[in-house]
Structure formats: structure tokens, C-alpha cells
């Protein structure tokens, strides 16, 4: 890994490599299984979970169907409370705005709260290009940054690292970024957390500019909400003089009251806690408490393309809890990097191809990165039917059709590389739509059944490398029925 998702191979190749990596598999299995049972217990505590989930989905649907209304309402409220609102159509523009705002303060460094939006737009690299050093302050983001690595999970970006690896990274790399790791650092999680505390303390205390995302933006009040555990978020939104928040346009919720739904759904789905240790809310600026300047950057970057798709739109309900990753058997084995995006796992497989399009090889392969087992939909706190959207996007890949790309309505051509499959699907449909042909095929297979090889050539090898081919029976059901009229028992 070297700090960029660009040029990643398609999912199947990356996943095959990851699946063969024993240590990675062990790390992911351990972590995801730990959280799965805890989540189930935390959710099980609330007898009205299904009703909360329905409300969570409905509030987001209301918001999305009237997004222009709520965004302008939020803009007005934030401005009235002393904040400044900026609009960014894409990643470049968002990076340009943030870079300019930082430079205007005269500062050369910023402290950052973990934020998916800034990860998505590659803000750190853009700031570095302008001579500004961005310090990640979330423990897992710190591990990733120090290790010159990429995030592989929404909530725990360093989930692919175990405690021994983290100890190594801290010991070897902390000195390059500031205070070195304590001498004799062990791999006990408590000691590793302490090392991060000491390393980052200096940066928090001198920071003049903080950069965050937000979990929610309340339209009626202009309030931003950041949900976190470590206190690094509080440090970044409280101590600096200037605070810049980059927030996806889908993060808006209509009312203050609506938070009662999400502040119950999110922590239990995410870290399996009744409530996360810290939640900060702020509305513009407050006299003599916290930053004197507050900038809100509203980010589109493909979200309106997803919004234009009436099936795919539901992906914008996502509150980034990561329950779908933790429960996904494919994610557990492939790891987050195989998804080639800041958004891995099932939600990434439906979000990334909508935000970036389906033209690159990796993006076109993402909708297929699922066995459609449905575990993701079952745990999703805002009821995103991920399998439905996956199949919908598969259609877009192989059939093409209407889509919105960077705000422009267009008609996509079928993706390349599916010609043989398309021909096979067409042939299969032709045969299946003619039971006589189907019967003839079954009879040929039955007559030649002793000749079938155990290992198939070509695409069939993908099956027979690890699995036996079933024996073809002497007589199909159809022939048996015709012969006996269903009258013959055993």
C-alpha cells in the first residue's frame, strides 16, 4: 500500500491475494467476529429496534426527496449562527476550498478528526501538495498514516493490523512525525493507546486549525454532530481557532428531534455500545468557547448522481456505522483494500460505483463482490437493501442503460469484458425458454455422464480448482415424470 487507491486491480484479483494472506485473514476474522456478537447483544437490548430502523430509513428518505430544501435551510441556519458555508461540486473543488481556507490562516499544519468525506476526496495529499501537514488523530487513522497505508474499514481503518503490527509501526515511525514511541513499548492495547495519547497531545495543544467531517447536520438548527470515542474529535472541534468541516450533502437531517433516532441506531450498530463515549454538537461559533471561525464545506462529488437513481438512491441513507462490513463474509476474507476505495465492504460495493461510475475495472467489479447472502441488509440500521442495489448495478455494468454521470444524464454502454458471459446467458435463456431443448441437453449430458472430466478447462476451472463437479444423473426429473407420470415411488 502506498497511500492511494488509484490503479488498484479488479476486486477478484485483489481479493484472491488477500484471501491467501493468512495473517490478514486471522486479523479480520478475529476483529469482525468480536464485534458481531456484541452488536447483536446491543441491538437486542432495544425492543423497538425494528421501529427505530424504519424511522431511520424514513427520515433519510424524506431528506433525500427534498434535499435542496433541507440544504438551503441548513445553509441559512449555519450562516445565521456565525458559520460560513461553501459548496463543492467535486473532490478537486473541495480540496481547493479547504486548502485556501487553511492558507488564509497562515498555518502550515492541521489536526484532523477521522472523516470519511476527507478520505474520499484525498484531502491530506492535496494539503501536502500545498505545503500543509495534516495530522490524523484517530488512533486507527494514525496507525494508517504512520504505516503509509490505506484505510480498510469505515470505523476501524486499521482493522487489518493486529497489536504486534501496531507496536512495530509506532516504534518505527512515530519519531518521523513528532514525539517518538515510548522506549520498550509493548503490544498491550492499553499501552498502545497511551503511546498515541502522548504522541498526539503536543499536536492538539498547539493546533490552530482543525478539520472534521460530521455524522449529522441538522437543517432546522444548523447544528453539526460528531460521534466518536477517543476524545480526539473533541480536541479538534474545540481547541483550534479555526474549524473546517467537510460534509457530504446526504448527511443532513431535517430536525433536532430526528437525532433521537440516529443517536440510538448508530452507536449500537457501530461499536456495539449503548452510546459512544463522546458526542459533540456545535452550531456556528460560540463566544469565547471553541473556534472563532467555522467553515462548512458541503460536498457533492457524485452524490447527486446516486440521488438521480431511484433504486441506488437508498445508498445515501448510509450513516457509516460499518455493521455491514463486520457481518459480511466476503469482506471478512477479502479485506477492505480489495474494494479499491475509502468505502469498503457491502456499502462500498454499492456506493463507490455510484460515486465514481462503473467505467474503471475495479468499479465495474464491485457490484459482483457479494454472494448476495443478505446479511448486510439484515443488520443495516437504515434498511438499505444492499443486495437489491448490487443486482441493480450489475445490470448497469452488463446491460448499460440510463444513468447520471457528473450531473449529466447519459446512456451507458455495456462494460467491456462481458461478451462471452453475455452470449452464454443469452444461450441459456434461449434453451431454458424451450423445455424441449432443455430436455435434449439433459439427455446428452446424461448419456455422456461417464465421460465428464473432474477438472474443467477455461472458466470452469474456477469451480473445479476447489470443488468437485456433481455427477449427472441417468435420468432428469422431467424424463422421470414423463416416463412414470410421477407415479413411481422409490
Amino acid at each position: 500500500m502506498s497511500g492511494t487507491y488509484l490503479g488498484m486491480p479488479a476486486f477478484p484479483e485483489a481479493a484472491a491475494t488477500a484471501t491467501a494472506n493468512g495473517r490478514l485473514r486471522a486479523n479480520l476474522t478475529h476483529a469482525t467476529h468480536t464485534i458481531r456478537d456484541k452488536r447483536a447483544a446491543a441491538v437486542g437490548e432495544l425492543t423497538d429496534w425494528a421501529a427505530l430502523r424504519a424511522a431511520g430509513a424514513a427520515v433519510k428518505d424524506r431528506t433525500l426527496r427534498h434535499l435542496d430544501h433541507y440544504l438551503t435551510q441548513a445553509e441559512e441556519a449555519v450562516t445565521a449562527a456565525g458559520g460560513t458555508v461553501h459548496w463543492a461540486a467535486d473532490a478537486r473543488e473541495a480540496n481547493r476550498i479547504v486548502t485556501r481556507l487553511v492558507r488564509e490562516t497562515g498555518e502550515r499544519e492541521v489536526v484532523k478528526v477521522k472523516s470519511m468525506a476527507t478520505q474520499e476526496i484525498g484531502l491530506n495529499a492535496a494539503l501536502a501538495g500545498a505545503g500543509v501537514r495534516a495530522y490524523e488523530t484517530d488512533l486507527a487513522e494514525l496507525i494508517v498514516q504512520l504505516g503509509d497505508d490505506l484505510p480498510s474499514h469505515i470505523l476501524v481503518p486499521a482493522i487489518h493490523r493486529n497489536r504486534q503490527e501496531i507496536r512495530e509501526i509506532f516504534t518505527e515511525r512515530m519519531a518521523d512525525w513528532g514525539r517518538p514511541a515510548p522506549v520498550g513499548l509493548s503490544d498491550r492495547p492499553g499501552e498502545l493507546a497511551e503511546a498515541a495519547r502522548l504522541h498526539l497531545r503536543e499536536k492538539f495543544l498547539r493546533a490552530k486549525v482543525g478539520i472534521s467531517g460530521a455524522n449529522f447536520l441538522v437543517a432546522e438548527t444548523g447544528t453539526l454532530v460528531v460521534v466518536e470515542s477517543e476524545g480526539n474529535g473533541r480536541m479538534c472541534v474545540t481547541l483550534p481557532e479555526t474549524l473546517i468541516s467537510v460534509v457530504g450533502i446526504e448527511k443532513v437531517v431535517p430536525t433536532w428531534r430526528d437525532l433521537e433516532v440516529y443517536l440510538q441506531l448508530l452507536p449500537r450498530s457501530s461499536t456495539a455500545e449503548r452510546m459512544n463515549p463522546y458526542t459533540s454538537t456545535w452550531t456556528g461559533t460560540t463566544d469565547s468557547d471553541g473556534p472563532r471561525a467555522f467553515h462548512l464545506v458541503l460536498l457533492d462529488n457524485g452524490r447527486t448522481d446516486a440521488l438521480a437513481d431511484t433504486v441506488g438512491r437508498q445508498a445515501l441513507r448510509c450513516i457509516r456505522c460499518s455493521a455491514c462490513l463486520n457481518v459480511c463474509p466476503v469482506y471478512e476474507r477479502a479485506g477492505g483494500h480489495a474494494y479499491g476505495s475509502a468505502y469498503p465492504g457491502p456499502i462500498g460495493a454499492i456506493l463507490t460505483p455510484q460515486l465514481r461510475g462503473t467505467t474503471s475495472e475495479v468499479d465495474a467489479s464491485l457490484p459482483y463482490a457479494s454472494s448476495l447472502c443478505g446479511a448486510c441488509y439484515e443488520v443495516c440500521p437504515v434498511a438499505i437493501d444492499i443486495p437489491e442495489v448490487l443486482v441493480h448495478l450489475r445490470e448497469r455494468v452488463v446491460q448499460g442503460g440510463p444513468a447520471t454521470v457528473r450531473g449529466q444524464r447519459t446512456r451507458l454502454k455495456p462494460a467491456k469484458g462481458h461478451a462471452a458471459e453475455r452470449a452464454a446467458m443469452r444461450a441459456a435463456r434461449w434453451a431454458l425458454d424451450r423445455p424441449g431443448v432443455l430436455r435434449a441437453g439433459q439427455r446428452v449430458a446424461a448419456r455422456t455422464r461417464r465421460l465428464h472430466p473432474g477438472r474443467l478447462p477455461g472458466p470452469g476451472r474456477a469451480w473445479t480448482d476447489t470443488r468437485e463437479v456433481p455427477a449427472v444423473p441417468a435420468e432428469s426429473f422431467r424424463d422421470w415424470w414423463r416416463r412414470t407420470g410421477g407415479r413411481e415411488d422409490r
Binding site: R65, A193, E230, N232, Q264, R274
Partner: protein, 211 residues
């Protein structure tokens, strides 16, 4: 065209399927979830849930409070304690630690040298084991409960305790900066197992003050 107009224009085109006559309120939001899960004793549940996430819970009455706070500070070896401007003076009447005022000009670095902080709270939520600070005079600026490593928070029970998140929100003012605290700072970033103690106060003591 400004980016604002560009993005809003994209949104309006994307929502071509939404009838022009549809109002936001026309999109039904079912609110048949519970406003409370009806704990038998909210204060008891608060104490239990705070303790679950490693907050230290103490109980006392008005007469016992000054002595308890003094003991907690002394047990910690606190030499200095930051005091919000509106903290009832009697809460610290028995404490030896030197008072540090919550002043606008105090820097984060200066706060980092302070041992402890004592505050009240806006309210507490039983179901989630949460205390909420809203910057009122007995709680002070956000950073005084963030930088020192030891936070003692006094909750008046039962009057400041609500059952649930839905009961908490209407009692809080969105315009004020809020900090919701559920236990000491923690992380699940190492192998998705929770460990306490990162950047926020590593020791959170909650005093349940019976009126």
C-alpha cells in the same frame, strides 16, 4: 454558475421522480418507536450503565458532597482543579487543591498542567449511561472538561436524570455547544476490542447528588 447553483441544480434534476406538489411532510415518517424503554428506576440504571463503561460512580447528599469531592481530589493527588464560574462554591468547600479559573485567556497548554476539573451537568440519560454538558455556568467552556485527565461531574438526582435519548433532546438547546459523555475516553481501534483511556479524561467520576 456558482457551485451552489450547480449542486442545487443537479439535485433538482436528480429528483425528477418527486412530484412538484410533494412537500417534505408528505413523506411519512413512522414514529412508533418508544420514547422511553421505561426503566424501573432511572437513577439506578444510570449508575449501572455509567459503571458498565468504566465511569466511577459515587452517591451522596448535599451535606456529604464537599467532603466527597475533597476526598476524590485528594485520593487522586490533585494539586490543582479547574472550576467553572458558576459552580456552587460549597461543592469545593472542603477541597485543598488550588483553584484555577475557567478564563477565556487560559491556553490549552495551561489546562494540560491542571490535574482535575469539577462540573455540574445539563442532564443525564439513564438508558445510555450518558451525561450531557451544555456550557452552562456550572459546566464552563468545553475544553476544561477535555484537557485535564480527571473529571468529576455532579448529577442532581433524580431531577436531572431522564430515561432516554428521546427524552433528552427536547430539554437541550441546539444553539449551545453540547458534549455528550458516556464513560471515560475509549477506543475500539485495536482489534475491535474496547480499551479505556485515550485523549479525553481517562478518569471520569460521576457523583449522584440526592436532593
Amino acid at each position: 454558475m456558482s457551485s451552489r447553483d450547480l449542486v442545487l441544480g443537479r439535485i433538482r434534476r436528480a429528483l425528477a421522480d418527486v412530484p412538484l406538489t410533494e412537500e417534505p411532510a408528505d413523506v411519512h415518517v413512522p414514529r412508533d418507536y418508544l420514547s422511553t424503554h421505561a426503566p424501573a428506576d432511572a437513577t439506578e440504571m444510570l449508575a449501572e450503565h455509567l459503571a458498565d463503561y468504566r465511569a466511577l460512580v459515587h452517591r451522596t447528599d448535599a451535606a456529604g458532597l464537599p467532603g466527597l469531592v475533597a476526598d476524590l481530589l485528594a485520593a487522586r493527588g490533585a494539586q490543582t482543579v479547574v472550576v467553572p464560574p458558576g459552580l456552587p462554591p460549597e461543592w469545593l468547600a472542603a477541597a485543598d487543591a488550588a483553584r484555577v479559573a475557567d478564563a477565556a485567556e487560559t491556553t490549552a497548554r495551561e489546562l494540560d498542567a491542571v490535574d482535575s476539573v469539577v462540573t455540574g451537568c445539563a442532564l443525564a440519560i439513564a438508558e445510555t449511561g450518558t451525561i450531557v454538558l451544555d456550557g452552562s455556568p456550572d459546566q464552563g467552556r468545553r475544553r476544561i472538561t477535555l484537557v485535564p485527565d480527571h473529571h468529576i461531574c455532579v448529577v442532581r438526582v433524580p431531577e436531572q436524570v431522564v430515561d432516554s435519548v428521546p427524552q433528552a433532546l427536547p430539554r437541550l438547546a441546539p444553539a449551545r455547544p453540547l458534549t455528550w459523555i458516556s464513560g471515560p475516553s475509549a477506543t475500539s481501534d485495536i482489534e475491535l476490542s474496547r480499551v479505556e483511556g485515550v485523549h479525553g479524561p481517562r478518569t471520569l467520576e460521576v457523583v449522584l447528588l440526592r436532593g
